[in-house]
Point group: C2
Chain length 496, copies 2
């Protein structure tokens, strides 16, 4: 690449963002004979793909799955896009094997079976988050990435290594540490013709003969956009300072329609000093509750799911506009502390934090507060002591009488009576966002009347087909499927 | 106006939408010497302005009011825009008098006083919906439009007559039944140069020398946009089939940033056959409750405010994705039926419905269901009879013991025991939306990086400065203030 004006900066396809969607688009376009440039603002690729859990839902029954996703998106996503996604999911395992990766469905998943009591909390969600919605039984088992067949890597790292290996083998130029600032547009035709980027303080331009694919992710790390679109600048578990939303702004600037901007995948997470990304909450014994800022419980904690973080945004005081559940607090007993780390340890961004299995390290580091008495714990957490004591008395009595105020079963609850006691703030946490430029089933970015903007394509988390009811395990597959589609459509072909 | 191509279709300023904001912009631009065209898709002007309650908040203490609005918008609105709005509100009474209208503050409003028990429900909200938020005491009394000084008209009609009289007196061309389809853009400079519209099946174009002001309102009547931005295609109390959001789409198409798309002013309303707009709920005696689809109560009904409709969107089932409170039902006793119409009668779109003061007309019309027994009523409403009976037993017992489950005071509750009993579905109802193109303090529509799009301006409900925490009584004043600002800025001057 040379600087501005040099005619050698011409590619068939330019891809903005080197995560899963961008890599899939590049592989597809390259295999169709195109010269491809990937531009990535960070020093290395991977994006959210590399650190995620790597879950891909298989298709159980395609028609039912289409009906399910159609119902969940409730008219905000055209049926053609849903059908294209499911069709792409059906083809995905073959493509992954062709790329040298191996995925296998996880037969231990009990689709359709009633939830079994007991930890961890949140537990797994087999199939879909919405088992009561039409077509739920069309969702298939989850694919996993077996270590043995993936160079000893598992989950997101296995997926990413497969993708980046494939990029290296192809005629694809990757520019890292390069920040795309604007799309170039031929104003007469309205066609997107390339990009203006910055690299080491220097402006560079590159021309795309066939099109630009925006695959730069969501806005999990853009506080202004979070405030605008979900009402609060909450933290994120996604790779810090990526997913800052510029791709969405660039699409807006050339007249793209937006969709699903309110659709956010939210978990519950803990923030500790020195770590930008949250630690996902995962409790491994029954002696715990969640309380809000008033030290009141608000849910059956045993029914938490991986994406239950949205409930922390549900209770806003209409008098003083305070979010009563931001933050909330997990309160637990000694047995729960000893039962295992209260966070996930096999995915996420903070794998090297040193969080010990018995939680002693985060306790000693002051991340988790502790006291021999509940009143003492309340004072350390800034909660009203009497309220917390009453709340836990009520909870303990509910177990005794099997009449929990929120319906929590005795099989999922231990009384909190043996100290020391522990507590830490729990925040609604962005896993990823769904919003961005609206795209067609073929990956074309659309204007407000549904007309494609010539030369502009979108893939992955930037403008996902999913809205505010996200069934789980779908965004990962979407990165691959929509990346492939966008890479092919830019060249006027079908995915191979 | 002549059809496409004729050079006489040239104006200094073109205004899209002939409601309060558009009229104010036209008056301001005309008074600055401009030739002005207003284009309105309906057969007459007025928009939401004409049917609204006409409430304008006065400024009590400007600095406190600015701090209050700053806190409520929580970083989504720049402080300059808030300051400009409050400054404009201070000047507004003089401008209104100059236009021949008269407004007077309402001294009966008890700002800062604790709520007095008793009907109606919802009651008035003096000052702000958020008395616990900083600067709340900076909000002044409400202005009203006294009939005597406003040609015998009151509220929205008084305001609209003042505006339309002023338009008629000026060099302003008004094209009704004309639907603006697109903005014209000089692609080299990016400047907005005019409009493409349709009138009687014929396309017409008009050129704007100085600028186009979008004042075409929100998207209360666009079901697709409601689904996209608030998650449900709920009904509206606004003038039917206006406020369909095209102005927002046109701004998006030329690269505008969006803000406040999730900010919706929601009331509770009733839908009856033959009327597109909802009837706002207003109950005038203490013998009533609200229940959800499971016949369960969910709030202290005596604390309802005019904008409490949002609570009907708060409880969505996470298993089957059903909105548990859409619709909800108001259940009331005979004394409440006789106490007065259970709807507002002095504002809104359905003033000529014939809804009788004793509610007998809507009962006889089958709009309100009735039965001598609660079980019979439940069956007519499609509710579970046993659940409704239990809910009302609990409610009645709560009054007896002064221990209502939702804290409703005995002074605001009568037992529901003397039939016949009545019930009708209550829906979350859009009064107006706040979202649209982001604008500067001067009314310039901005691109995603905050740079004005040359020649394009916005006013009123289309891209309001308010977000999801709306203090009440502000959108009306904003129509006037922001209309004036946009009309002046288009000509490069300040409002007079």
């Amino acid at each position: 690449m040379t600087s501005h004006g040099d005619q050698t900066n011409i590619f068939d396809v330019i891809i903005v963002g080197y995560g899963g969607a961008g890599a899939a688009a590049a592989i597809e376009a390259s295999d169709a004979g195109a010269s491809v440039l990937i531009v990535e603002k960070f020093g290395e690729g991977g994006g959210t793909t590399k650190m995620a859990g790597g879950n891909i839902r298989s298709v159980g029954d395609a028609n039912k799955m289409i009906a399910h996703l159609d119902a969940l998106t409730d008219g905000t996503t055209d049926r053609g896009s849903i059908e294209a996604h499911v069709r792409g999911l059906v083809d995905l395992p073959i493509w992954i094997e062709r790329c040298g990766g191996v995925i296998r469905t996880d037969p231990s998943e009990m689709l359709g079976a009633p939830r079994q009591p007991g930890p961890p909390y949140p537990g797994a969600t087999p199939g879909t988050m919405f088992p009561g919605v039409v077509g739920a039984d069309g969702i298939g088992l989850r694919y996993r990435w077996p270590k043995a067949q993936n160079k000893g890597l598992s989950r997101g790292k296995a997926a990413w290594t497969m993708l980046s290996d494939n990029i290296e083998r192809r005629r694809v130029e990757v520019l890292t540490n390069t920040y795309v600032k604007r799309l170039m547009c031929d104003h007469l035709s309205g066609r997107i013709t390339g990009i203006v980027a910055e690299q080491g303080g220097k402006e560079i331009r590159a021309t795309a003969r066939q099109g630009v694919v925006l695959a730069s992710g969501g806005f999990a790390w853009n506080k202004d956009m979070l405030r605008e679109w979900i009402g609060a600048a909450i933290p994120s578990a996604a790779p810090p300072h990526r997913n800052t939303g510029e791709g969405i702004l660039m699409a807006q600037a050339v007249g793209a329609s937006l969709w699903h901007m309110n659709g956010i995948v939210l978990s519950m997470g803990m923030l500790v000093p020195g770590f930008d990304a949250t630690f996902a909450l995962k409790v491994r014994e029954r002696g715990f509750i969640l309380v809000d800022r008033g030290a009141q419980r608000f849910c059956d904690e045993s029914r938490l799911a991986g994406h239950s973080g949205g409930m922390l945004l549900e209770d806003r005081d209409h008098h003083d506009a305070i979010w009563r559940r931001i933050p909330s607090y997990v309160i637990f007993d000694e047995a729960t502390r000893l039962a295992g780390p209260i966070t996930t340890t096999d995915a996420g961004f903070n794998l090297d934090s040193g969080w010990s299995d018995d939680n002693s390290m985060p306790v000693e580091s002051g991340w988790i507060s502790t006291s021999s008495s509940l009143a003492g714990l309340a004072s350390k957490l800034g909660l009203d002591a009497q309220s917390l004591v009453t709340t836990i008395d009520d909870y303990n009595r509910g177990i005794e009488t099997d009449k929990d105020a929120f319906g929590r079963s005795r099989m999922d609850a231990n009384p909190i009576e043996n100290g020391p006691f522990y507590g830490i703030a729990v925040w609604p946490t962005v896993y990823n966002t769904q919003g961005g430029p609206r795209r067609s089933a073929k990956g074309e970015i659309l204007d407000p009347w549904g007309v494609p903007i010539p030369g502009l394509f979108g893939a992955g988390e930037l403008g996902s087909i999913f809205g505010s009811l996200y069934p789980g395990g779908m965004n990962y597959g979407e990165a691959f499927v929509s990346g492939r589609v966008a890479g092919a459509t830019a060249l006027g072909v079908e995915p191979k």
